[in-house]
Point group: C2
Chain length 308, copies 2
């Protein structure tokens, strides 16, 4: 009997034969930026649209999808704490990351020229982040639930006075023309997504791996310094550190003992470090941290997205 | 001639005589949550509504307002990096902080009962964060630019089939009734705002003060550890630490030498620490940090909001 193979880096390099079997859940409709991220990681995957981020998690937990894609931080908006909360409340493991430069496009029905436009529809954040371009255009702005829904609405109603701000993929999905690309105010806006699966992947050392952890500490000056020492003493580089005040707010933490108990913390700390759990120095660092951390969970160890 | 007095903690305790003269700029229309924060800090102030956050900064720079109020982080959404960017691009100083528990309310015209509602209008994020309550209500949801505009729209058009999700203050401003309070999914959602002014306040040691800094470091393992040592060695507690990848993105930094030059960083670090710049240990810590930081700016030293 062939033992089911653990997922490896090869999954992320996405050879057509493998990735075409993979179903990836995401929040939004076809053509959304979350779907773009899924397709960057697995170009031939079958994407599974979900109403909410939590539904994308459930899709994986209920075996309706193999993996989920989740935006976790944006260079302009910062970390998305409510998505970190989902990671803590659920049992999925990070098996990959995707960095995607934001590319807001102005889309309209084929044949529609920019001069004919009277209004632009999109998610309010997409409209706000494209403020300079849209102000020059001088058209009315209308809010819609998400960028891809706006594209769908304009296409299915044959609106010739309206454009939408959405992705190139939304143009392909709904048969719209791209009138302008990269219309956002900040040309270097990047969103980082995580790929989640039911099982962790086997960490390796032949490619750059990153490990994401969350932990809590006793209160007091110098205690975070002590926590960072476990990495500094082993020459492990950090790519992210963030403290998150909890102010005695209960948090449902699913840990390995499967108690799922609500715990109270003053602060949560999120750290990403550049090392694979296959390396002894990473194992030693986490062993050292566990000596005094009041809670520690490895969210995942995964190949770094070095394509940017 | 009387020398203009520097702002002190007394300004934040807001005696009616003083605070009634203060004009505070904020992003949004009357009754928005940003205005709520301004009124918590200065109950009798004159609030100055602005179209965008940047306009609120400009209002202070052009002496149209004495102070601006800016949301900087939310317990569910995380730090708002684009507002940190505004702090770096402008010359204003943090002179106070306000922590405000989010209280989303369901508002409708007087006499309208919950059973009569067919739709609810609000900013899409307010609708999304009140999902559980609104799902039970089972009414259509319509997106509007901000919560207070939704209240204004329903009131001025006399809509009796519509409610809005907005603040208690919006109910007062637009003559609406509060049908339900605290309807958000997360009852402990808190937003932290900064109060900004043209001049820094004089740091004191008779009340708890907090200092916010931003800095950059050379790349390499252990360098952040070294930076935290300057605080740990002096028993200074940190209330916030956050790394922000810049990926060689240029950032226009306004420094004291007034060059306003664009600089390139790999990472920015944000730290808030519990000490007043009036304390030698805080001065020594920053002197120590400056020995090896490639860039360092004190965003402000201000009384902590301990009301939560």
């Amino acid at each position: 009997m062939k033992v089911t193979e653990p997922l490896t880096v090869a999954d992320l390099s996405a050879t057509p034969d493998d990735s075409s079997k993979v179903r990836i859940s995401f929040k939004g409709t076809l053509g959304s930026y979350n779907e773009d991220a899924a397709l960057k990681a697995y170009p031939k995957c079958k994407t599974v649209p979900c109403d909410e981020f939590e539904d994308a998690f459930k899709a994986v937990e209920l075996w309706l999808a193999e993996k989920a894609v989740l935006p976790i931080e944006n260079s302009s908006g910062g970390s998305i704490h409510r998505n970190y909360d989902l990671l803590l409340r659920h049992r999925l493991h990070i098996v990959g990351e995707v960095q995607l430069p934001v590319n807001f496009c102005l889309l309209a029905l084929p044949g529609v020229r920019i001069e004919q436009l009277k209004r632009v529809l999109s998610h309010p954040q997409a409209l706000a982040l494209s403020d300079i371009f849209l102000s020059k255009l001088g058209v009315a702005r209308e809010n819609v639930d998400d960028t891809a829904s706006a594209a769908q609405y304009v296409a299915s109603n044959g609106l010739r006075d309206a454009a939408v701000v959405a992705s190139i993929r939304a143009a392909q999905v709904y048969g719209l023309n791209v009138l302008a690309e990269k219309i956002q105010d900040d040309p270097d806006n990047i969103t980082r997504f995580l790929v989640l699966a039911r099982d962790p992947i086997i960490s390796r050392t032949d490619k750059p791996f990153k490990t994401s952890i969350v932990f809590t500490l006793e209160e007091g000056p110098g205690i975070l310094f002590k926590a960072l020492a476990v990495f500094a003493l082993r020459d492990i580089n950090l790519t992210k550190i963030e403290s998150r005040p909890q102010r005695k707010r209960p948090l449902r933490v699913v840990d390995d003992s499967n108690t799922g108990a609500a715990k109270y913390f003053d602060y949560l700390f999120y750290i990403d470090f550049e090392a694979s759990m296959a390396e002894p120095r990473a194992q030693n660092a986490l062993g050292h941290l566990q000596e005094f951390a009041t809670f520690l969970r490895v969210l995942g160890c995964y190949p770094m997205d070095t394509t940017l």
